[in-house]
Symmetry: C2
């Protein structure tokens, strides 16, 4: 940054490179543009991102009588260490978006925009751009605009090559349409939607088992993974359930078909499903009603990790759950399948709780 090196201490000599930060902005501009929706105002570079919630021009159908803003934040945890190990950084951004927007849609909200925070040891423009490419791709998959972000260089906090990526999303839901689980009743059906593996939870344990105990390298191909490498299986991006879920909600605007939804993250079905059920109700989960992806079996065997612990740490193949009224279960499942999802009836709501029942 200083134009006169040698004349005293400069910011660059203290380890902070502002030009590299500007190079990142130049690299990501075209990617960010692909996420720009007509409601985004202003260009990159202001102090803040601006987003018109609602307006009356004919082009825009969305209008909210009593808009409730919904907001989530999350990081990808230590999944990014797998990306670093594989030197493949362009997918963890998808996970980062997924973790926030999959949480957000649980109450029926539609994602509007996203902001990212990227902290690095050193701003290497190509690496930063790769990470943000994943973010923009996640934004496209969830119909939200990448409204802003911050890249922060902290050589004294992050080790060379390390980084942390944090996401923040904002959405909106019409107040009358908030889904909060209160309409759940015995007999409702729990539909689990297939996950693409670990998603972004349990990497502390997964890395310990696969890298430290089983001493796999990311390029190893254990037979259990049916052709995939350990790295590929571990880095598979989190599925983003926004479009299929919002489509189902849009199908049943008047009827209350979808009664509760849960994003299955850390804590698995065991912790996440009871969170959305009203007091006095539980779900009897039918074991073996969905296929458990190979990566989970590999971890359970190589740990060994006992099955209760597995269920409390990992999603075990179910990334998202919709609790729906029984009369519409089949129709919801068809709708989900038409989006390329893999829905399974994984259980039924019954009196009891708060812990899940398994049979």
């Amino acid at each position: 940054m200083s134009k006169n090196p040698g004349k005293g201490v400069t910011y660059r000599e203290a380890g902070i490179d502002i030009d590299a930060g500007e190079a990142v902005v130049d690299l990501i501009k075209p990617m960010v543009k692909t996420t720009r929706t007509p409601r985004v105002m202003g260009g990159l570079g202001g102090f803040a991102g601006l987003f018109r919630l609602d307006y009356n021009e004919k082009l825009f159908k969305r209008n909210y009588r009593d808009p409730v803003l919904v907001s989530c934040t999350d990081s990808v945890g230590s999944k990014m260490l797998v990306g670093i190990r594989m030197n493949k950084l362009d997918t963890v951004g998808i996970d980062c978006v997924a973790m926030s927007v999959n949480d957000m849609i649980c109450c029926g909200a539609e994602p509007l925009f996203f902001l990212d925070y990227l902290a690095v040891n050193k701003v290497e423009p190509e690496r930063c751009a790769a990470i943000i490419k994943g973010i923009t791709s996640g934004c496209q998959q969830s119909n939200c605009a990448l409204l802003g972000g911050e890249t922060c260089e902290m050589p004294d906090v992050y080790k060379p090559g390390d980084f942390d990526i944090v996401g923040f999303s904002v959405g909106v839901v019409e107040r009358q349409r908030i889904i909060d689980g209160s309409r759940c009743e015995p007999g409702d059906i729990a539909i689990g939607i297939g996950s693409d593996g670990l998603h972004a939870n349990g990497y502390g344990l997964a890395r310990q088992v696969l890298f430290d105990i089983a001493t796999y390298d990311v390029t190893d191909k254990p037979v259990e993974l049916e052709g995939a490498t350990v790295g590929e299986a571990m880095l598979a991006p989190t599925r983003i359930y926004v479009k299929c879920v919002l489509d189902v909600l849009a199908q049943y605007k008047v009827k209350h078909v979808v009664k509760a939804m849960a994003h299955i993250t850390g804590g698995g079905l065991v912790d996440n499903l009871p969170r959305v059920l009203p007091e006095g109700l539980t779900v009897r989960v039918k074991r073996d009603s969905w296929p458990v992806p190979p990566i989970f079996k590999l971890i359970a065997n190589k740990g060994p990790v006992d099955s209760l612990e597995m269920r409390r740490v990992f999603n075990m193949g179910v990334g998202f759950v919709m609790i729906v009224s029984p009369a519409f279960a089949e129709s919801v499942m068809n709708r989900l399948s038409s989006h390329g999802e893999r829905p399974f009836v994984i259980g039924k709501v019954k009196k009891g709780g708060p812990t899940l029942e398994w049979n």
Copy 2:
């Protein structure tokens, strides 16, 4: 988390302590409640934070005809390393909120809510709660609700004792009232509002000069600091300009008195003031028109850091700038003073640019 240690590998053994995370939630609940405004919906613990933008009950005066959402994100950078060094963690949260909300108000928006992300080596409930106490205090100072947050334990990324804290804020501005600098004209007055020291920028350089070159300890009291320790001067929280700025804006709802605003962060006046001026205009900044706090003089002397570099890295005593029409400058200054701020006429808008002029 596992109830049967010894039977295989558990998540806790992999370094992740879920109970400690729950202890943090218990500790912070009462603090978070103090930031709760009537528009916040639901309790802690759902998948997302919900916030009613607007409704028609008599109690609530705020209604937006064409609401524009405004969103910002930032961290405190390496300022938290100073807090760690002093074992004083309850103020960096104020900086974290300040960095976001001071950016947000530049376009005239009022902050509504805030989310935090805290990444740590190990979840130590008291330390985490201290950090989040600062966050809630920043939220109170900026009238925004702490709507959600995430605490993430990553022993393989963060060194023992280290952490990173990131903030996201959302606010709203009526579209007709967005302040974007476009009304600036020659003769307008630049009012600088006093900072409380470094705020949260330039810590790479500040730490290098004060700790590495001058070899100060945080408890040292160099005469230049007029009684304060190096640590106290470096850790002074960022001033939050929300209440005073929004009050000034509320005074002149019809007249366009306030034409542009800039939060003076990394890049100093040199980079931040031109960002808010339209093309063809600049500000002639009058040197010595405000007092430079002692910490900046100490850094400049001990580096040595040349004066141009100082101005491009630090706020030099001006934390926020309002560009106002000359007829109202005095009245705006009086209003700011009534809030306990220290406003100074630091320059005047003139043709030229984009770089600032100094005389």
